[in-house]
């Protein structure tokens, strides 16, 4: 049984200038904290979320036993990131549909729902917004920033934008930028959404519509890329959904995997916001700290001061080990302290959310060593 989590919200009246040059003000960030901040405020761990996650990292909500946080296996009392020792902060990013100000909220000037007018936000913008939250919580320096996938990009960005504000960066199943193939998947997902007749140029709220068809397809594509071929085969193989007989239909569901993907897509389209999906996939596409250093990642990471742990998974083809090794190499070139674990897990990109014993042990040991620094 998990502990009870309580969502909080912080209001920021002052404008935040975004990387695009636009700005946003009067926004809220949703967040949760677990554990206790120690007297010298040295035990805080910030957890950055991935594509479809939120500030609800661990624990359950009162009276909702199934509302487990998305990284509850990693974070909590006695878990690898032990909340008996660490003060863990989960924060929801700007533009999300899970509590922080996003496209479904009203613009403070006009009172109209932002919709497609919500400014484009980047990983850097998210990190700056998170830094403001820390200011308000009175935390000057984090023991660690932790993130997987898109969250790992935020952790990496933290080490470049606010190098003095953290001692450790834990970057799991991530990359220094997206490959063309990754951007291509994102683009297909976005086209599925924007070409849905219910999308209305992003102002579907005004029309009382939701582009569910597009969201379903976007999610199906995403889902395929998070798994490995082996795991899909093991889980579904060529099983037919009903009995042994083929239906000889091109439109009905034949295979179990089709049924599963449709189910996942349907579920997703019930709760995820289409504009948020566009914003977040764009933030993924744009992230590329080496860009302003002539594509030289070593130069880009020269600013980093944190000690790093990087973890990748051998079957992750969306964020392959090779991409993590690029970060490791750039850190080695800069003579930074870094450890790198390449976990031979079968589950593909999703492995970072699952319970692989070797993965969990490395994380536990690393956070144990962080805890020794302030114990």
């Amino acid at each position: 049984m998990s502990f009870i989590a309580t969502p909080q919200s912080m209001h920021f009246p002052e404008a935040l200038t975004l990387q695009s040059g636009a700005s946003i003000r009067d926004y809220h960030l949703a967040f949760e904290t677990y554990g206790t901040l120690n007297a010298d405020k040295s035990n805080a761990v910030l957890v950055c979320h991935a594509l479809n996650a939120s500030h609800h990292v661990a624990g359950v909500y009162e009276g909702q036993p199934k509302s487990e946080g998305w990284w509850d296996n990693m974070i909590g009392p006695g878990k690898p990131v032990d909340t008996n020792r660490f003060f863990v902060i989960g924060v929801n990013n700007l533009g999300s549909c899970f509590g922080s100000t996003g496209p479904m909220h009203a613009h403070p000037d006009t009172g109209d729902i932002y919709g497609a007018d919500f400014p484009v936000v980047t990983v850097e913008d998210w990190v700056n917004a998170q830094a403001r939250l820390l200011d308000r919580l009175g935390i000057d320096q984090l023991a660690a920033v932790l993130g997987g996938s898109l969250g790992g990009m935020q952790a990496l960005s933290w080490t470049l934008q606010h190098p003095e504000r953290m001692r450790h960066a834990v970057v799991v199943a991530s990359a220094p930028n997206l490959t063309a193939e990754n951007i291509a998947f994102n683009e297909v997902a976005r086209r599925a959404i924007v070409t849905d007749p219910d999308f209305h140029g992003g102002h579907f709220y005004r029309h009382g519509a939701i582009p569910k068809r597009g969201l379903r397809i976007a999610r199906m594509i995403g889902h395929i890329t998070y798994l490995s071929d082996d795991v899909m085969n093991e889980k579904f193989g060529r099983q037919l959904r009903e009995g042994m007989d083929l239906k000889y239909s091109t439109q009905d569901i034949e295979f179990q995997i089709e049924s599963y993907l449709r189910y996942q897509g349907d579920k997703f389209s019930e709760y995820f916001d289409a504009n948020t999906y566009l914003l977040i996939t764009r933030a993924l596409d744009y992230f590329d700290p080496a860009r302003e250093h002539a594509n030289n990642l070593t130069l880009a990471l020269a600013r980093a001061q944190a000690k790093f742990l990087l973890v990748s998974f051998t079957t992750d083809w969306r964020f392959s080990p090779q991409r993590s090794r690029e970060i490791v190499k750039a850190l080695l070139d800069n003579r930074r302290r870094v450890s790198y674990a390449e976990i031979d897990a079968p589950h593909g990109h999703d492995a970072f959310l699952l319970d692989d014993a070797r993965y969990m042990s490395v994380m536990r040991s690393y956070f144990d060593s962080i805890a020794k620094e302030f114990a």
């Binding site: 070139d333 870094v338 450890s339 790198y340 390449e342 040991s365 060593s369």
Partner: protein, 194 residues
């Protein structure tokens, strides 16, 4: 080869404050010792999950890599010393790794089981592959895919234009400088690029 005296004998080849890369670092004991006793910094490279975990546990920075895939991640002359302690004999591309060691480090230290140690010779004379404390495996299930001798390494080093700064045998943690090819279970070479 984890005995304290052996570790100390090898550590003497690593100057104080060196930046060290330990290829096949095992559980990180050597690097931990070098950090503690000789003020060194650096990284271990290891493929085995349990060893990687052990390194993280003792605070040794470790990079999980398969050495047979090369050292592309490490820049030329980016370390003062590159260690290959009981690693060479497990590598498919032992010669490539030796060259890589010389490229990445300003100096290198290689230690491996000396197959020409006299008990091994005796065993071969009797018609059997040796099974000893230093080579405790049967011929059909040994992880050592390369067996070589002290003398063999001299030849290989020469072929690769390495200048040998020092070399000796190690037996029970003690340096053997007289007839090391016959009298020592472990061969140790300290070298740099010529």
């Amino acid at each position: 080869m984890s005995e304290q005296s052996t570790m100390e004998a090898l550590a003497r080849l690593v100057p104080h404050g060196s930046r060290v890369l330990d290829l096949g670092c095992g559980n990180g004991a050597m690097l931990s010792y070098l950090q503690r006793e000789r003020g060194c910094t650096g990284y271990g490279v290891e493929i085995d999950d349990a060893n990687v975990l052990a390194c993280v546990q003792r605070g040794v920075d470790v990079i999980q890599l398969n050495l047979d895939e090369g050292l592309a991640m490490f820049g030329d002359n980016s370390f003062d010393v590159v260690l290959q302690i009981d690693t060479l004999q497990h590598l498919r591309n032992a010669e490539v790794m030796l060259r890589e060691t010389a490229r990445v480090g300003r100096t290198g230290v290689v230690a491996f089981p000396n197959f020409a140690h006299w008990p091994n010779r005796l065993s071969i004379l009797q018609g059997r592959m040796p099974v000893t404390r230093r080579l405790p495996y049967q011929w059909y299930d040994t992880p050592n895919i390369r067996v070589g001798t002290y003398k063999d390494f001299e030849v290989l080093a020469h072929k690769n234009r390495l200048r040998i700064l020092d070399s000796f045998g190690l037996q029970n943690g003690r340096e053997v400088r007289w007839l090391p090819n016959a009298l020592a279970g472990t061969a140790v070479f300290h070298f740099e690029n010529a």
